[in-house]
């Protein structure tokens, strides 16, 4: 009889790794962070990178397809629009405004929403009731209509758009943070913090806020993409950023008119938007894992 040797499995080792190493080991995270980095660099160094002036018109090469198609030219890698403007250059310049609007609106809404959610959930009582009814009203009201009304009142412009999107987007943050705080505040570590004499404002800031950062980051990353699209909708309705400033949203809106004949006008800004949203979402997940001491202990 022959002896059968069984392969001995070494037990998986539990190792505590640094958060940075955990990110580096996660390939998908690496790609997402790289994509975001490239986008940010492109936005910052747009004048150096862009092959053409994004607003320079050349009617002789209007509606050229991307370079790899038979009618394309190597001068315009991603083709041109109906006025002969270079699509790649417009995408690069557009990333500036789109990223700025997306990130700023998400941060603004996050700050407003987290503050309201924390205070509302922690203090409770009539304070909570009033704030949450306001949130209900805001939710019931179509946000684009509200945004239109505010822009109509204040006037359009880049900063107004950011403020409007920030002020219309806080509700989801506030509700999630409040729900988390409601469950956290009855946890014993909050009682314990009070028992050692920590004041309420410090408990909210130092004990509760870090514990709600994970859901906050997740909503934030979703909101970045939503804010970029909302800016597009406002621009599409002519209530957003002035026409001479290139944004992905405005490009998308413009491309829609030519979808049947010149697909690249809508597809490339759409792709850029999608890649950004995806990269931001994955990066948000990574950030959440890094913030949770349990998650990177694999």
């Amino acid at each position: 009889m022959t002896a059968i040797t069984m392969p001995v499995k070494t037990p998986a080792r539990v190792r505590t790794t640094s958060p940075l190493r955990a990110v580096l080991r996660n390939k998908l995270a690496l790609v997402a962070v790289a994509v975001l980095a490239v986008m940010l660099l492109a936005a910052v160094f747009a004048p150096l990178i862009a092959p053409h002036d994004p607003n320079a018109q050349d009617l002789l090469v209007r509606l050229r397809p991307p370079a790899w198609m038979s009618a394309g030219t190597s001068d315009h890698l991603l083709g041109t629009d109906q006025l002969g403007r270079d699509l790649l250059s417009r995408l690069i310049y557009g990333s500036r405004i789109s990223l700025l609007v997306g990130a700023s609106a998400a941060v603004l809404a996050g700050i407003i929403g987290a503050t309201i959610g924390l205070v509302s959930g922690f203090l409770g009582g009539w304070f909570d009731r009033i704030l949450m009814r306001i949130a209900d009203v805001q939710l019931a009201f179509p946000s684009i209509l509200l945004a239109l009304a505010i822009v109509g009142f204040l006037g359009s412009g880049l900063w107004y758009v950011i403020i409007v999107l920030g002020f219309t987007g806080w509700v989801s943050y506030a509700r999630v943070v409040r729900a988390e705080v409601l469950s956290l505040r009855s946890r014993e570590f909050v009682t314990e913090a009070r028992a050692i004499g920590v004041r309420d404002s410090t408990i909210m800031r130092r004990h509760l806020l870090p514990n709600v950062l994970a859901p906050l980051a997740t909503i934030g990353t979703l909101h970045v993409a939503a804010a970029i699209v909302a800016e597009a909708s406002l621009s599409y309705l002519g209530m957003g950023v002035p026409k001479e400033i290139v944004t992905w949203g405005a490009m998308l809106a413009n491309g829609q008119l030519y979808l049947g004949t010149s697909w690249w006008l809508a597809v490339f800004p759409g792709l850029a938007l999608m890649c950004t949203a995806l990269a931001v979402n994955i990066t948000g997940d990574v950030l959440r894992d890094v913030a949770d001491p349990k998650a990177y202990r694999r």
């Binding site: 014993e188 314990e192 028992a195 050692i196 004499g197 004041r199 004990h207 870090p210 001491p293």
Partner: protein
């Protein structure tokens, strides 16, 4: 000897939407320096509500302190200002809770959480607090204190976490320690160690310890005096040996009979 903490005719109500629950009804007792007082009773007897009242930690609303006083160093805790109250909490009176897992913030290293007491009350800097944490951890019986101070709660065992809680409670050198079921969540061998540690530290620092428990075995092991509570009222008070040998009240006798006994037949 003058008591460090005395509770006089304390009544605590919980005003709910439909009814008012009298959780604590005219309860009185006092603890002296170096003494361990056990408050025993079944679930819902009001012992935790009484304990939390000492630091005014019951959630208000629904809780209302409807009568009596909690006297600590000549002041009534129930009427002092929020600011004075924060000065008492963790400094003059410290508390240890039942579940050491949920009593620690999961996102902060335990060393930082222990040091927070000093930073709040003695205005210690981050570095000073870090310095003071290591001896406090060692005093609570934690070897390898440097490494433990840098760990998160989930990396520690239940017994270690409760030792961390003890270190946190004692680092401010409180005069009174309130331990609310400090060993309930731990297994039996660890329970004995933690009780020994508490008794030892109480002796060494001349602290008054109020031990809230439903476990009469625990009471027999560490307490000097016992307060028996039922339905929010004090049923019987007395010296621990006296009470175990000659319980005066029927409820106390029933409680004693309910303790499981290990007998050879």
């Amino acid at each position: 000897m003058k008591p460090l903490l005395s509770i006089e005719e304390l009544s605590v109500d919980f005003r709910l939407d439909t009814e008012t629950v009298h959780a604590v009804d005219r309860v009185s007792f006092a603890v002296e320096e170096g003494e361990t007082l056990a408050v025993v009773g079944e679930s819902g007897s009001g012992k935790t509500a009484t304990a939390l009242s000492v630091l005014r930690l019951n959630p208000e609303p629904p809780c209302v302190y409807s009568g009596g006083r909690v006297v600590l160093g000549g002041r009534d805790v129930l009427t002092v200002s929020e600011k004075d109250l924060r000065g008492i909490r963790g400094n003059e009176v410290a508390m240890i809770f039942q579940d050491p897992m949920s009593s620690l913030n999961p996102l902060k290293r335990v060393g930082v959480q222990i040091g927070e007491v000093l930073r709040r009350h003695q205005g210690a800097t981050r570095a000073e607090a870090r310095q003071a944490v290591l001896p406090a951890l060692r005093e609570a019986g934690i070897s390898d204190a440097e490494r433990r101070a840098g760990q998160y709660p989930h990396q520690l065992s239940g017994g270690l976490r409760q030792r961390v809680m003890i270190a946190m409670a004692l680092i401010g050198r409180p005069k009174v320690l309130i331990a609310d079921e400090p060993t309930t969540a731990l297994d039996v061998t660890v329970q004995a160690q933690i009780l020994d540690l508490l008794a030892d530290l109480g002796q060494r620092h001349g602290m008054a310890i109020v031990l809230i428990t439903h476990d009469l075995g625990v009471v027999a092991e560490v307490a000097d005096r016992v307060v028996v509570m039922n339905r929010g009222e004090v049923v019987e008070t007395g010296d621990v040996l006296e009470l175990f040998d000659h319980p005066a009240q029927e409820y106390t006798r029933a409680l004693l009979r309910a303790t499981p006994k290990l007998e050879l037949t």
